[in-house]
């Protein structure tokens, strides 16, 4: 039996031998299968009646592994679920591959795995297969997780990043910058007290409410993770060959997050979100779409933050409270705190 209170991961737990088997049966199968008749296998068999599938993968290397509002486990599930949802599909199954650093405490691993299971349950998706490798101390940072997911698409709407049309309203399903600032504030070396919580959440209910209300008037969805709203909307503007203009004053942000951004000199539009969706909808359904999103607790702070237009295709601009416009470029890389 693995001592989950005080033992830690050894190289042998990734060797494929008895220790590997012990880890898989005492932790992964026990937590992920949770009484389900199909056992966790090297290859999962899925059945679907949909004739369209979407498929997505993402790796998670967050530091710190535990942060206010979540840990790497729910982040890994919610991130891939939200990527799948951008097609408007229904997530079906997820695989999880773990790279563990030798010496990683089993107690932490168990917490992470249980958090993943909870997040999967909330998203109504099963974790059906996986893999574990252990590397020598120093060859990886504690734990890396790669999740890959499949969703079935049971509608005929064309929803993808190239479908935005001039006139479309751009909606964000809630406040921006919570996740990135939670991570930054919980790192050492910045004098902030970690009072900001990550927004990590899966958005299945929000997306399905939106589709029920707006149907094929939903033109594109994108979860603004790394690079924040600025990177996501630059990509959408580029892919759809439209200009997008944001209204700065309309962008929702929680006051403590705004405060942390001010202290560190960071633009909240460049900061990662892990429980938000950017949505482009046809102008005539804007109100209905917004109301549908707001009806869900995870969308209660949704707002229309801008619109697409025909001039300057590929360019993202922002209208400042003083009425001036400026280009909001694709960020070069992660924002760094600044003193000037």
């Amino acid at each position: 039996m693995i001592d989950f209170d005080s033992a830690s991961v050894q190289l042998g737990h990734g060797s494929g031998g008895r220790l590997s088997h012990q880890l898989i049966s005492e932790l992964f199968i026990r937590v992920f299968s949770d009484g389900h008749p199909d056992p966790l296998d090297d290859a999962a068999r899925l059945t679907t009646r949909a004739n369209r599938l979407v498929f997505s993968t993402d790796s998670f290397v967050v530091d710190p592994v535990f942060f206010p509002g979540g840990n790497i486990g729910d982040l890994a599930i919610n991130g891939t679920v939200n990527d799948l949802l951008t097609s408007g599909g229904t997530p079906l199954a997820i695989s999880a591959a773990f790279i563990l650093e030798e010496g990683f405490p089993f107690r932490d691993l168990k917490t992470i795995v249980e958090t993943m299971k909870k997040a999967a349950d909330v998203a109504s998706v099963r974790i059906v297969t996986g893999d574990t490798k252990v590397v020598e101390r120093g060859k990886a940072d504690k734990i890396f997780i790669t999740t890959t997911g499949v969703a079935e698409v049971d509608h005929d709407y064309a929803i993808d990043c190239s479908q935005i049309r001039p006139g479309d309203a751009i909606i964000v399903t809630g406040t921006v910058a919570d996740h990135g600032m939670a991570i930054l504030a919980s790192r050492e070396g910045l004098s902030l007290e970690a009072t900001i919580a990550s927004d990590t959440a899966s958005l299945g209910r929000v997306v399905h409410r939106l589709l029920a209300a707006a149907g094929d008037s939903v033109h594109a969805m994108r979860d603004p993770t790394r690079g924040g709203v600025a990177a996501a909307l630059n990509e959408l503007a580029e892919s759809s060959s439209v200009g997008i203009e944001l209204i700065e004053a309309a962008i929702p942000i929680r006051p403590p997050v705004a405060g942390a951004c001010e202290i560190l000199g960071i633009d909240p539009l460049l900061v990662a979100n892990e429980g938000k969706m950017l949505v482009a909808v046809a102008p005539d359904v804007t109100e209905a779409a917004l109301a549908a999103i707001k009806a869900d607790p995870l969308g209660s702070e949704a707002a229309v933050i801008g619109h697409a237009h025909a001039s300057h295709p590929g360019r993202l601009t922002i209208r400042t409270p003083l009425g001036a416009g400026r280009i909001l470029d694709m960020p070069l890389s992660d924002p760094l705190p600044r003193i000037c």
Partner: protein
């Protein structure tokens, strides 16, 4: 250069012989060294640059900066114009409540 943001001082404490403070920025708490602003009192706003308080915000001066405009605007409004003597078009009052929070 020199990003400095005012935070509300909520606690003063000593650490390794230095006077330190906890400051509230709309709910985010930041720690800063107060050695350069020994006059700072709980409840006052302190400008913090790179972890050091550099100046205590003078509330009267801040009020004055905003109030000059409020007064001008209010005076002009009584005469039915904006501060430049043009007739008011009635589209929303000027920022008379900017400092009341």
């Amino acid at each position: 250069m020199c990003l400095a943001i005012p935070g509300k001082l909520i606690e003063i404490y000593q650490e390794r012989g230095l006077t330190m403070g906890r400051l509230d920025y709309a709910g985010t708490i930041n720690r800063a060294c107060l050695e350069y602003v020994p006059e700072a009192k709980i409840g006052q706003y302190v400008l913090v640059h790179a972890g050091f308080g550099i100046s205590v915000i003078d509330e009267d001066e801040a009020q004055k900066t905003l109030a000059i405009w409020d007064e001008l605007v209010a005076q002009a409004a009584e005469e039915g114009t904006d501060i430049f003597g043009r007739p008011l078009n009635g589209a929303g009052g000027p920022a008379g409540d900017g400092e009341s929070k």
